[in-house]
Symmetry: C3
Subunit: 231 residues, 3 copies
């Protein structure tokens, strides 16, 4: 069953699969594809070629296996999804959040309000991101990561969650995404190793390699990163 | 009003909004979307799924605000835009330039002739790029950056323009993109901090972090980058 | 001539050009474009907006020139191509391989079976990748590279093949992609310089810059990378 507000503006070329709900004053541009289980809340704007609510699937080459049932995918009120955004099923986006061109967010993530997830950012499964957080272009956010409020992650930042680096298929059972607390700033080109905790209001310098926990309020730099000073 | 040359070859599935001009012998492939204010000059080829002349918009999560009026977007003669290229309104691309798959260029940029902006490259607003310049795959070019002629920027290069790293919303008033002079070469994985000037014909080594100006004709390497030798 | 199995499930919006073969139980989603010379083998699933079998073309800004004839592009049985994948003509993908959202693979590559090429990965021309190899999100694989079996390449890894870094147009005649032997692991944010050989079962640490050959079974780290220990 589809529930589409008569006050929504849907391009004729948009493909709306069954079991989709679109609230009032939503705008859906051309060639968008919306899969079952998706709710688009009031006044959100979905630009051309977005794909929303996609099932994760595997041809047998992934360590994880997937359910073939659609979850609930929610795009919050006033969000803007730029061209080509891909959202996987079961992910929730808060209100007033901007998703940049071609960013892709995997299943079961929770993204907050007033965030920016910028162009070409790839976010893996089951990650949570707070409110007012910005993740800039071409960065990768790993699975099972926890990112707080008012965090700024610059461009081309890498994060990882698998200490075995793909060498142990059982590693999927004990993956450890980094934890990034509120008000943290991470510079361009930095990398976070699995399980590191970056304390509140810390600053990670550009190109830094974070191999261990960073205390709150400290500035770290270098490869590997070392504490340079207090904020 | 649309002005489409009868000698242009436009796929039936292309969406051409009002106020678009397409010159002779242009080829527009399937599922392309062209927004108002866009001019595509003679013999350019626009591959499938490109989105041209898009307005920048904000749900209130960005520090910048935007005009809701379309500017003039120009794609020069003989250009090739590969699948999924996104151009924002008010950007001008010179002639004989190649834009790779899924590269995205924000509003009010000026890109020269005979350039390559390769796959997944994201270019921010109001940046200028000269002629015969190549920016390779998955790199990010920040806003307000000035890049000269015959520059080569390798893959996964990061550039930044905000010394506050998102910590100061007023920073949008005094952003400082790097300046890259003619004939500069920047290696893979390098990062440029805000406002640095890279002098003519300098070479930045792979993985280098450029924290201060680089004199013309010098080779720099390391994190942070230091002068190693003359060219 | 098209040869499309009556047992294939093709969305009405898919554009299938001439000289395409689609085997039984293939699923082609909406707004896919398939160019001539493409074969999609049994049970492969092609998600929305993929572009398969595209010709490489040049507006005169590239050092290479291209044939205007389509080669043979093969997608193996049981493969899954996520939304927006771009494959260039003459590339072969083995069976049971997953291509992530918006990955792009240039012409004349050979990718093996049971591989993952993840989101936003760009692969250049004439590269070969073995079986059971994973290349994670936002990495770049250069042209003429040889990657073995059971290799793991993490996120935001850069690789290069041109020692002149674009300074010599004749360099296209003697490009040297890195060689990555079987069972190698490469950490997040690492960079490989042209022509390096990474020996069997070696580990490259995150953020490392590989400037020379890495012996088999060694762990290397740092900028530039140095041998730290045996596996």
């Amino acid at each position: 069953m589809k529930r589409i507000s008569p006050k929504a503006e849907i391009a004729k070329t948009a493909i709306i699969h069954d079991d989709v709900e679109i609230e009032e004053n939503v705008v859906v541009h051309d060639y968008v594809v919306i899969y079952p289980g998706t709710v688009v809340k009031a006044r959100a704007e979905i630009y051309d070629h977005c794909v929303l609510g996609k099932l994760p699937t595997s041809p047998g080459s992934t360590a994880r296996t997937y359910s073939s049932e659609y979850g609930k995918t929610v795009i919050g009120g006033n969000c803007i999804l730029c061209p080509g955004v891909v959202l996987y099923t079961g992910t929730t986006i808060g209100h007033n959040t901007l998703l940049g061109d071609y960013c892709s967010i995997r299943e079961k993530c929770v993204i907050g309000d007033y965030c920016i997830i910028s162009r070409n950012v790839s976010v893996n499964y089951e990650t949570t991101i707070g409110n007012h957080t910005k993740i800039m272009d071409n960065s990768h956010i790993t699975g099972n990561m926890k990112i707080g409020n008012h965090v700024f992650i610059s461009v081309l930042v890498a994060s990882t969650n698998d200490n075995s680096m793909g060498r142990d298929d059982d590693a999927v059972k004990h993956l450890a995404g980094p934890v990034v607390e509120d008000y943290v700033t991470i510079g361009a080109g930095a990398s976070l190793l699995p399980g590191v905790v970056v304390g509140r209001n810390a600053i990670i310098g550009a190109s830094a390699l974070v191999t261990k926990n960073v205390p709150a309020g400290k500035v770290v730099m270098g490869v590997p990163a070392r504490v340079i000073r207090d904020i």
